[in-house]
């Protein structure tokens, strides 16, 4: 049993923890490096500003990039208000009884639903039933539903992390519950809410299955001209080029280029979140 001294064990476990931590960092580094090296031949500003050519195998990624940005805007516009407001309801009005437990089970189950199922829901609900057709808005709404549980659970946690003593302070001054939420709870919870929002947007940005079923096109010669037209999107573009073109199957740099742009988009959003969070933390801290 005591073959190793206590200090040797200490070193062994510490080394193990550190190795596991390093593995995680290494994964990200490898992903970025692999994509970067693969995409080197095409990486230039033109890649971002030119539409795909030669049946997607050549040219840039302007059309799918713009499509993905449009999708993000729709997700942002629908998922954030609905998600944050329902989180306020869950955290501030639901209390801690049986009802609250039921709600949190619903939310966590929603978060676990496979994305292809959301795609089917979007196809049935938005494309067919609501008559939106295969379109930007149908895909955007589908992704918004997918993003909703992530926004809700992050926002709810952020709101519940606000010390009850601050709510009491506000209520004891004769503020109404809504004033307390509006002036204190939401501003103080904003950094946490923002983290959830970015997480949700990143997740939605990378989803392929839902948009595949609800409106993403293999190739379009022009930008979507309204929210009811079809669109190209980055994740589907990566899939399409990689599986449907000879060049892609042979490792075309276009695939890696599209992937790294998607990656940088997500990392960029995270950076913005970090900056805004930091500024808010300086403004409100407890």
């Amino acid at each position: 049993m005591n073959m190793l001294s206590r200090s040797a064990k200490e070193k062994l476990y510490f080394g193990l923890f550190r190795a596991c931590g390093a593995l995680v960092v290494l994964t990200l580094v490898v992903i970025v490096a692999y994509m970067l090296v693969g995409s080197l031949p095409v990486l230039s500003l033109d890649f971002l500003t030119e539409p795909p050519r030669g049946a997607n195998a050549r040219g840039g990624i302007l059309t799918p990039l713009v499509g993905t940005i449009y999708l993000m805007i729709i997700v942002f516009a629908f998922a954030i208000p609905i998600g944050v407001l329902s989180a306020v309801y869950l955290a501030e009005y639901q209390g801690k009884g049986r009802g609250a437990r039921f709600w949190s089970i619903v939310v966590s189950n929603l978060a676990g639903v496979p994305s292809i199922v959301y795609g089917l829901l979007g196809l049935g609900l938005f494309v067919t039933f609501a008559g939106l057709g295969r379109s930007l808005i149908a895909s955007g709404l589908t992704l918004a539903i997918l993003a909703l549980p992530i926004v809700i659970s992050a926002a709810r946690e952020a709101i519940q992390a606000i010390p009850p003593s601050l709510r009491e302070a506000s209520l004891a001054l004769g503020a109404t519950k809504w004033q307390t939420i509006q002036h204190h709870v939401l501003p103080y919870a904003l950094p946490g809410i923002l983290t959830g929002v970015i997480l949700a947007l990143s997740r939605a940005a990378g989803e392929t299955a839902p948009i595949l079923l609800t409106g993403a096109a293999f190739y379009m010669s022009s930008m979507p001209d309204s929210i009811f037209s079809q669109f190209m999107a980055l994740p589907y573009h990566v899939y399409a080029v990689a599986t449907q073109t000879m060049a892609g199957m042979n490792g075309s740099p276009v695939v890696y280029g599209a992937a790294i742009v998607l990656l940088l988009l997500v990392i960029g959003m995270n950076l913005i979140a970090i900056i805004v969070r930091k500024r808010y933390r300086e403004k409100y801290r407890w």
Binding site: S165, L166, A169, S170, L171, A172, L173, G174, R285, W286
Partner: protein
């Protein structure tokens, strides 16, 4: 400056009764201390006076609390008005994570004072009243969290005064403070008692003896004895009170 008349007050949390038939008249002005062992209902009692127990869903209140003859629990009473007239200072300092100025200006603003000049005057008057002005006048825009614990608690007192309450409730205001900060708060209480009806819950009997004009002893949810502080500590009428203040129980 209002008197508080409590008539047959019962409070339950779910099935557990926290206050049992409390009858008590707290005259206006001066300091009334509430003492008793942990779990005796003293915090529940003080939080009934500004209806802070309302925010606990399992809480049920029965009985009357009359302030200037008006029942706080009567029909049609606006609870935000109740809390505007009855300020509260809590166990741990709980300033808002905002500037010192904002901490004081917040309540007047939500109750309708928009004028910047007026708000500035209120901030200065309340900070002076809480003996904090000289320490913070040059850094009103700095976060309240830069202040020490004792300063934060005086800021919370200033905040409670910002909407001119008649009654100020203190729920163990010194339990998180060191002796020097405690002494400052006690001095402040002495200053406030001529203008406000002060009710203070304390687990510290010496504190009650030092600052209070009247003291009430609660035990197991009942008001056991209420009288002048000197009389209650020197010649308690009830055996339970005597056991508690002599340290045989508690």
């Amino acid at each position: 400056m209002s008197s508080i008349e409590v008539n047959n007050l019962n409070v339950w949390f779910d099935d557990k009764q926290a206050l049992k038939g409390v009858n008590m008249t707290i005259p206006e002005k001066g300091i009334t201390a509430i003492i008793g062992p942990s779990g005796c209902g003293k915090s529940t009692f003080i939080r009934s006076i500004n209806r802070m127990n309302d925010i606990i869903p399992s809480c049920r209140v029965q009985g009357q609390i009359l302030v200037d003859g008006k029942d706080l629990y009567g029909p049609g009473v606006d609870v935000t008005q109740v809390r505007k007239n009855i300020g509260m200072v809590f166990q741990r300092p709980n300033p808002f994570p905002k500037s010192i100025y904002e901490n004081i200006a917040y309540a007047p603003r939500i109750h309708g004072t928009r004028d910047k000049k007026k708000l500035g005057e209120i901030v200065e008057r309340c900070l002076r009243r809480a003996a904090l002005w000289d320490e913070v006048k040059d850094r009103l825009d700095k976060s309240a969290y830069d202040l020490s614990g004792g300063q934060q608690q005086r800021l919370c007192i200033a905040r409670a005064l910002s909407i001119d309450p008649e009654i100020v409730l203190f729920d163990e205001p010194c339990s998180a403070l060191d002796p020097i900060a405690t002494a400052k708060i006690e001095d402040l209480l002495e200053e406030l008692k001529d203008d406000y009806t002060v009710v203070i819950v304390t687990h510290n009997m010496q504190q009650a003896a030092r600052v209070a004009d009247r003291t009430a002893f609660f035990y197991l949810g009942e008001l056991i004895e209420f009288g002048d502080t000197s009389q209650l500590f020197e010649r308690p009428e009830n055996e339970l009170t005597e056991n508690y203040i002599t340290g045989r129980m508690g």
